[in-house]
């Protein structure tokens, strides 16, 4: 392939980081203030692109969790009794403040989590603001959300969120819970606590009463203590299917309401009558967006055999133009893997795939010397019985399988314990509708992928969890009959 007559070098258009003021250490956010953890313990959060430590963060112990739940419980009567119109206006403030401080949040999210600044700026932060804006408007309209049904809040909600979209997941959880009048104890992921802690600032600035939202940082034991706490009325969890099952067992028999948003192994199905160039873009977006750290990632490409070679060729050519590197560079497409642990997991699964007989393709990529990196990867010659066709890798790794007919595509797509999402690429509208009616997935994207909107319900079938976030359906998990 002829080289350009000059290197088409994109400027390292590095976003300045001085807009973020990091403290050396952070406490827990309980009862409207930052307090030291009674446990006395803490942990470091690092920048996965450089392995530099960013800040020390408190690790909440059982007593701290108890204090947080107590604060949420104490704040609940006044918060739930507040006229809905006032609650609505407070939440609108949160949305507007997130927009005011958008750049600060985007930079912080990229520093703490490793995702490209282009994504945190264009996707994570605007969507987080939009979720608060959308649900603010439901707070005083609940009479219309459930025909024939008067509702009231559940009480104290325990919300445990993952590291792949730290701020956005916080917004997905907090907005509907608060809009319906619940109070919250939120536990951010261990590797990405910082944007939630900055959000606490915004909530206080918006004049949310103390105790309405409490944030307990920590590791798995903090989350476990929180979901098991008897003072909690509702548990909402987004994370791995294995931990989801543990939580399901832990709350069994307690009467606590539960929603789970777990893993996935989505099929991205490309038919011969698709708009192929756009389908390739969609496949790329489906698995390499956010380094594939996406529960609904299109991690299995199911391509119709007649166009398999053409699509794979286009895919490989397209991979060569993906830029992996400094997440703060606006030209970067693929950022850092979130942690050493996740990197090891991805590596070992790809190795397993090769052992099973798949062929690996990775474009030549200069990876930075420090930090956690994995190049965009395609595994061809994958069969349904392979581990790489069944297990969630949660990294920038695409497994490619083929099919011959629509029915076969459906069967292969559904042949998984997961059921979160799926993609369908065809220009034939009736086939879009036929496929989507048969795919056992909570979200079907047709001729697009990884599109999210606060008005659009999201959630899984089968072992991808239950309950929906977004849309009017996203209110239901947070209310009961009045």
């Amino acid at each position: 392939m002829p080289e350009l007559p000059f290197p088409l070098e994109y400027a390292p258009a590095r976003e300045a980081t001085d807009i973020v003021q990091l403290a050396a250490s952070y406490g827990l956010f309980i009862g409207g203030a930052f307090v030291a953890a009674r446990s006395g313990e803490s942990f470091m959060t690092v920048n996965p692109a450089t392995e530099e430590p960013l800040a020390s963060v408190a690790a909440a112990g059982d007593d701290d969790v108890d204090a947080a739940v107590g604060a949420a419980r104490a704040a609940f009567p006044a918060w739930s009794a507040l006229p809905a119109r006032q609650r609505s206006k407070l939440l609108y403030r949160v949305a507007r403040l997130l927009q005011d401080r958008a750049r600060e949040f985007a930079v912080l999210e990229t520093l703490d989590g490793g995702k490209p600044i282009k994504e945190s700026r264009d996707v994570d932060v605007p969507l987080a603001a939009a979720h608060f804006f959308y649900y603010a408007g439901w707070a005083d309209k609940l009479d219309y959300a459930f025909p024939g049904r008067q509702v009231r809040p559940l009480g104290v909600a325990a919300q445990v969120i993952p590291w792949n979209f730290p701020l956005l997941m916080a917004a997905w959880k907090l907005a509907p819970a608060l809009a319906t009048g619940n109070t919250v104890v939120l536990k951010p992921a261990e590797t990405t606590p910082l944007s939630a802690l900055l959000l606490a600032d915004v909530l206080a600035e918006a004049d949310l009463p103390p105790g309405v939202v409490n944030i307990v940082t920590g590791g798995p034991s903090t989350g476990a203590a929180l979901v098991r706490h008897p003072g909690v009325d509702k548990v909402a969890f987004t994370g791995s299917t294995d931990v989801g099952k543990e939580i399901r067992r832990a709350v069994a028999g307690t009467g606590k309401a539960l929603t789970l948003e777990l893993g996935g192994k989505a099929a991205n199905i490309v038919f011969e009558d698709a708009a192929l160039d756009q389908a390739v873009e969609g496949v790329v977006n489906g698995i390499y967006f956010n380094q594939g750290h996406v529960c609904c990632a299109g991690s299995r490409l199911l391509v119709q055999e007649a166009v398999a070679d053409a699509v794979i060729d286009k895919l490989k050519a397209r991979l060569a133009t993906l830029r992996v590197g400094d997440p703060l560079d606006k030209n970067t497409d693929l950022g850092a893997i979130n942690s050493r642990a996740q990197l090891d997991k991805i590596t070992s699964l790809v190795d397993a795939g090769v052992e099973e007989g798949a062929t690996v393709y990775q474009p030549p990529c200069a990876l930075p010397p420090r930090g956690y990196w994995f190049p965009p990867t395609v595994l061809t010659g994958v069969h349904p019985s392979h581990r790489v066709a069944q297990e969630e890798i949660f990294g920038p790794v695409l497994s490619v399988l083929t099919f011959r007919t629509p029915a076969e595509a459906v069967a292969k797509a559904n042949n998984t314990r997961y059921g979160l999402s799926a993609g369908v690429w065809t220009e034939k509208a009736s086939k879009v509708l036929w496929m989507s009616s048969r795919l056992r997935a909570g979200v079907v994207w047709a001729n697009t992928y990884n599109r999210f909107d606060p008005a659009s319900p999201f959630g899984g079938f089968k072992e991808s969890g239950f309950g929906r976030e977004g849309g009017v359906h996203g209110l239901a998990p947070y209310v009961r009959n009045a």
Partner: protein, 315 residues
């Protein structure tokens, strides 16, 4: 040459991959295409690359004047600018070509002798392309005889949009014959085609009929060139190259006024095709006011200060 019904949206029939080529013209998803074009538009270029890209933009430019009021004096003035764009800076290269109406070709040929700048002529009853076949072909021959190196004709949209693809194909093929050694650009007039599917189909048809370049617009209709349209055409060129081995060029024309737009188009080409296309042999920008904006940007990169329009001569 056998007429080719271009099979839009169908998989390629096993067919002779010859010049008469049955070429797949698949459907295009507009939302996805526009999103990709927007992402490409947001790339930022390194400064050193910027200068190289600006100079490339100049070398790929077709300076154009297609007005009823064009006189020999006007054309000669444009040619002088084409050969030496910046009077105070001889390092700025000449443009690729000057594009004029057939009657003005001899003026341009004389003015550009020895400069290396090509003479392009519109022909084929530009811009509608609806004159009688004999007149279209004769105009092409005339322009070539007068000395034109390159011929720009239009796609017969009347035939194309009414589904008479064979007619549209033949109209191009006969002009290709008449053009002889001159290279042939086919203007799709994308602003009239109505959808990206049609742009894709028209691109495939024009290339199958022998176009050496496919071009977005006549400049007489808006919308003219846009990034998504250029991306769509680049994808069609890529497909054609993969199927036939023949490299067809891309020309964007109409509405390209700023240096920033010029390098956005170059990014689209560089990321969709390969380095071979970032050269005057396979990429052109048809423009008039763009040149001065590029020159001002070049000055800014060189001197560090923003320049004034008075610093460069009018074309």
């Amino acid at each position: 040459m056998s007429p080719v019904p271009v099979l839009a949206g169908q998989p390629p029939v096993a067919a002779p991959q010859a010049a008469a080529g049955w070429v797949r013209a698949g459907p295009v998803d507009a939302v996805g295409l526009e999103a990709r074009a927007a992402a490409l538009a947001s790339r930022s270029l390194k400064r050193a690359t910027k200068v190289a890209v600006l100079e490339l933009a100049v070398r790929c430019m077709d300076l154009t004047t297609l007005e009823g009021s064009d006189t020999p004096g006007k054309v000669a003035q444009l040619c002088a600018k084409a050969a030496r764009p910046d009077a105070s800076d001889p390092s700025v290269p000449p443009v690729a070509a000057v594009c004029v109406y057939p009657q003005l070709v001899p003026v341009a040929v004389a003015a550009l002798a020895g400069t290396g700048v090509k003479v392009a002529s519109v022909a084929g009853t530009f811009p509608a392309g609806l004159g009688p076949s004999a007149a279209r072909v004769e105009e092409v021959r005339f322009a070539v005889e007068q000395g034109a190196d390159e011929i720009d004709i239009v796609l017969d949209r009347s035939s194309f949009l009414s589904g008479r693809y064979a007619r549209a194909f033949d109209a191009i093929a006969e002009c290709k014959d008449a053009a002889g050694r001159a290279h042939l650009k086919v203007i799709l007039e994308t602003g009239e085609l109505g959808s990206y599917d049609q742009v894709r189909r028209a691109s495939a048809l024009a290339m199958a009929a022998g176009a050496d370049f496919i071009k977005t617009s006549t400049g007489k209709v808006t919308p003219a060139a846009t990034l998504p349209v250029a991306l769509c055409m680049a994808e069609a060129i890529r497909e054609h190259h993969a199927a036939t081995g023949r490299a067809v060029g891309l020309k964007v024309a109409g509405g390209v006024r700023t240096a920033k737009q010029a390098w956005q188009y170059l990014v689209v080409v560089a990321e969709t095709l390969d380095g071979g296309w970032a050269a005057p042999a396979l990429f052109r920008i048809g423009a008039s006011s763009l040149l001065n904006d590029v020159l001002l940007q070049l000055r800014k990169e060189r001197t560090g200060a923003y320049a004034s329009p008075d610093d460069v001569a009018d074309a």
